[in-house]
Symmetry: C2
Subunit: 136 residues, 2 copies
């Protein structure tokens, strides 16, 4: 599947699962960096069941700051994961909803969520074993 990095002159390439990927523009890194952000994937999952308003999301993720909420939403919108709809009510309300792209990300994301739940105990076990043995 994957093997060795090739360092052709000037052009750096990494090979993952047999597919060469330039490091300047690696799809995997690009996506992973985003879903790995502290709030991004949580936000996608939050919107899984349907659109939410700004203040709803704030309540839904209690420990996010307004700043990070705004920023995360803008980032996700920029990448096409969700759409922002402003309703010109008084006071104004803004609704965020997953796009088709966002919905499709939900699939691999849920796989990962499932895996996390299944294996979290094992990780915690490994962690305390590691911490325990080195110490004394």
């Amino acid at each position: 599947m994957n093997r060795m990095t090739q360092r052709t002159e000037g052009e750096r390439v990494i090979i993952i699962d047999g597919v060469a990927m330039s490091m300047d523009n690696c799809p995997v890194r690009d996506v992973l960096d985003h879903i790995g952000g502290k709030w991004n994937s949580l936000m996608i999952l939050a919107l899984a069941d349907g659109p939410m308003r700004f203040s709803q999301l704030r309540r839904f993720i209690p420990d996010i700051s307004q700043r990070m909420l705004t920023q995360t939403l803008r980032d996700l919108q920029r990448d096409g994961y969700l759409i922002r709809t402003v309703y010109p009510t008084q006071p104004p309300s803004v609704e965020y909803a997953l796009t088709e792209l966002g919905q499709s990300l939900l699939v691999p994301l849920r796989t990962l969520v499932q895996w996390s739940q299944d294996n979290h105990p094992a990780i915690r076990r490994a962690r305390s074993a590691f911490d325990g043995q080195g110490r004394d």
Copy 2:
């Protein structure tokens, strides 16, 4: 990556896909924070085909610093994703290999990689569309 356990709040709970999860000890965040790290998931994928030595990994991921390589490997070892084996040769060689846990993570990870590759064009398109429209 090295998350100091911070326990400030009492009993806050977030609901993902209908499942309530404590925020102090959320499996999803715990795992996502790791696979989302800049190097972690790349490292797991690098070891997918078999064990590698320290310097091999360095070459495999050309733009990682020695410091980050060491640290990432220690973190992943701590969480039970890989094992570290020292061969008392001269000079010493150290081999890193995925554990069963690490191998199992490979499955959802590959799903994500696949998704990334499939949808990267769409993301790039959305991104430039977003950047273009706000402009002037």
